[in-house]
Symmetry: C2
């Protein structure tokens, strides 16, 4: 029988305890659907007893039909000075009406005394009573042994007794949680071996690791090798402090490399998309260095081996990026040289031979702009426009002769008045001069509105285009507001998202440059490219 | 004899192959000094044969006197079609005149044939010849066995033979490199056990892991348990693709938890500072979730256990944050409640009792502002000013009656003209009205200049204050340039850095709010606080 693993996602509960990471109820519903599409086995939706947002989630989620995942509600063992029947936490779990209930209990003697403020024996009772009480109300009952590894190190008999009580009361899986994240891989192995000895080889164990020692993924893998059948984690490893075990690393490690069967196996190609989706919904930049799913995960820099990668990718990549929905990238940077520019030209469909005299010019110009603060790694549309300009084929669909932005605010509570005036000639050099003004919510919005107003009648397709993200970074050099700023704009239409960049001391001028590039790129690709969404 | 480990830092070489991570020669010199202050054993300064920047580094570094670290120069084995004496790479290594030389050679048969384009036997020869040639020119010669684990899996005899040749020629340490980052911890253990069997127990081994499977730190720890004596990594794990093994996790794991002796042991309290310094120099935001050194690493969220943490920190933290130069933080967020606000008030020195009727108001106002896009986690100065305002003690040292910003550009190549006009009353309500204008490099700089011009004669200490960083983030909600933006400003004077925030549809208005807060905070703390740098 093939070894099988089940993945339990707690992005919506433990994940939301991460700093900077918050999800509304609507966000959680959307993310839950994505997790289902990834084939996740269990989705922990929240802690219904802890706040009204979570309780509302469990109501509204009943309108969704999961194809693969089972929903879990999370909560605590009952209050030591109550009975299960009177405990509002347990009642909230039952009212959530989920197929799975997960409750956590104390495993560490000092927590029982100091945090729960009760006796060691009473804690064992409430674990047993809570599990027994909830079991008839769900298909599966998982027991999370909180702070298990620290508890085991403090008193192994007591920690194992808490597990035995949960097991005796009917818990389907006993999940060992490294709540403080301080346990190291070799300790995980020793402790799980001991737990299996004491609880019997047939015991069903799970692992819930935290990343405070940067070993959460490894700890989970080592636990699986010791026979653990359920792995808990979050998308992108979001979670309290340094995060939870990262499912986006765990699933490919276990399924692609260690040969485990899992429900997610057939949906692994969606991994990168789900990873990016969660960041987008939470409005957090997608961390570029993330293993498997990061923008940099298969990005090759350094002219030396780029040519080798292009010939034999398998010798420089541990897996094929497509298996997890990611792509190989060759970076243009100041460590790069002709190889990288040639690769980019090919990608853009620009014919550039290795012996072309223009090649040296292009490389030199890219390096010069980079030293001024331009960064093309995220702004490939600007790079493509630049390359066309340097080979003598600029894509300039309008000529911005000048602009003026006025931003005024006259009282504490009044709205600012923002007006942009532009003078544009279409087409460049010979056409009509459009001179118009527009207002906006802010200077960049006003400029965007004014430009569209001026050229919209020539280029109606601009209506399909919207600004997706806008980033400003102060560049090193002169300190403070006298420094240069780099503006990165991501634009989207119905088919794709593209990035453009502008650099200046003046954030409006930098934004204007990135804006002009973004519009020119849209008009260029509509004429020449055929990218279906 | 106590077990001892040596740390080898390759931030300046392998680290700089990370996307978005570039260091100038001056940057590298500064970082090298910081690494020395951390007690790092070896600092790999670069690859002198690969580019002029690195060669220049090795010249200029001779002016520095390292107290603890030994400098290493990195390079490749000699070209198969040359001799050691004619090989420019090896010559460059000798000219670097470093106490340590590290060379890398091919361990994987397919790389020998496809990348090096030579025979398996010739590869063994060049390894042996390169090591033997360089050994007399340095105190220590380290041999990096590139792609070792993949090479071992393909042909264990050949991979081990490459090591034997380096060992025979006099290499002091044989460093096993997981160059593709695809090896998992249990495989590391099996392979190193086998290598020790074949090369003899006395062999000195090192480990150089990459993070493509999110196991670089764990792989290094497991390697040390198998007897490896040198661990290679980078600060914050910067490196190609998903990065190198993170020294900021490795050093505390090995020294604080696993009891290894190391030169860094006495300087561990500098870890967070060095970690932040490297990000600052590279102009990359310091990743908040980094274990040990991240801003979130000891940040507690979630009202439930915050009270427990405040009473017994050791039960919720795997180490004391001060050991690595970090601090515990209690977060204000929408999961928080009264506990967190009380904690913050105490931190700010504001007297607020748990039964104070103002407490509910403050909590409600913070939550309302957060739902509008304000984020106080990075802008504690704004939070402090807000709390004073809500308890009836606003700190408002000037009244901004109105502003007007004009930003004009009239030709492609002309500089933009930026002018800000402000009307300010000092002190608020009763004082003189200052009405003045200033220009600037951009709208925010012009506003800053105008405000300072207006109130500078009342508050000369503003000269000490400068803007350190400026971040703009588009908030979810309305798409594109009609969305709200959140501006975060970090300001500094001779003593500290503080963060303030402003939210608006208009980036100038948002910047203005953050600017006004930053100036009020400076004036407030000068009057009331005594913070020595």
């Amino acid at each position: 029988m093939a070894k099988r693993i089940e993945f339990y996602d707690t992005t919506l509960r433990d994940g939301t305890q991460a700093e900077y990471f918050t999800l509304s109820v609507e966000d959680k519903l959307r993310v839950a659907q994505k997790l289902d599409e990834l084939g996740i086995d269990y989705i922990e939706g929240g802690w219904p007893g802890s706040n009204p947002k979570d309780a509302r989630f469990f109501k509204e989620v009943r309108d969704l039909n999961f194809k693969h995942a089972k929903l879990a509600a999370f909560g605590s063992t009952h209050h030591p000075r109550k009975n299960p029947e009177d405990d509002p936490n347990l009642q909230a779990l039952i009212e959530a009406r989920t197929p799975v209930i997960t409750i956590f209990g104390k495993s560490w003697d000092i927590h029982v005394k100091e945090a729960l403020k009760t006796t060691l024996e009473r804690n064992l009772e409430i674990i047993e009573a809570s599990v027994a009480y909830l079991k008839p109300h769900c298909e599966k009952l998982f027991y999370d042994a909180e702070h298990f590894f620290d508890g085991f190190k403090a008193d192994k008999d007591y920690a194992c007794e808490t597990l035995k009580r949960a097991q005796a009361a009917g818990a389907d899986v006993l999940v060992l949680c490294d709540t403080n994240g301080g346990t190291l891989p070799h300790e995980i192995v020793e402790i799980i071996k001991e737990v299996k000895k004491r609880l019997g080889k047939g015991v069903s164990l799970g692992i819930h690791a935290h990343n405070d020692s940067e070993c959460a993924v490894a700890n989970s893998l080592m636990a699986v090798l010791e026979g653990v059948i359920q792995v808990q984690g979050t998308i992108n490893g979001f979670g309290e402090r340094c995060g939870n075990a990262n499912l986006c690393s765990l699933i490919p490690n276990l399924v692609l490399k260690m040969g485990y069967e899992a429900q997610s196996k057939n949906y692994l190609h969606r991994l990168t998309e789900v990873s990016r989706y969660v960041c987008e919904v939470a409005n957090i930049p997608h961390p570029s260095y993330l293993p498997y799913v990061g923008h940099s995960a298969f990005a090759h820099k350094g002219g030396v081996h780029v040519s080798a990668v292009m010939r034999h990718p398998r010798t420089y990549e541990h897996i094929e990026p497509e298996l997890v929905g990611n792509v190989r990238r060759i970076l243009v940077s100041d460590l790069s040289g002709r190889s990288n520019i040639l690769y980019k030209a090919k990608e853009f469909g620009i014919r550039l031979e290795p012996d072309d005299p223009m090649l040296a010019n292009i490389v030199a110009e890219v390096k010069k702009l980079e030293s001024e603060g331009y960064q093309f790694e995220a702004a490939e549309a600007s790079l493509e426009l630049l390359m066309y300009r340097l080979i003598g084929e600029p894509k300039q669909y309008f000529e911005l002769l000048g602009y003026r932005v006025l931003d005024m605010k006259s009282t504490e509570d009044g709205l600012p008045l923002v007006e942009a005036t532009v003078m544009i000639r279409v087409p460049p050099g010979v056409g009509v001069i459009e001179h118009t003004a527009a207002s906006g919510n802010g200077p960049v919005n006003a400029l965007d509105n004014a430009i569209r107003k001026a050229i919209g009648r020539f280029y109606p397709q601009l209506k399909e285009m919207a600004l997706a993200d806008y980033k400003v970074r102060v560049l090193p050099g002169k300190p403070g507001t006298a420094a240069k700023v780099r503006v990165l704009i991501f634009s989207r239409d119905n088919h794709e998202v593209w990035g453009t960049v502008g650099v200046s001391h003046d954030v409006i001028e930098a934004s204007c440059r990135a804006l002009v590039d973004s519009i020119n790129y849209k008009l260029f690709k509509d004429r020449h490219k055929n990218k279906e969404g």
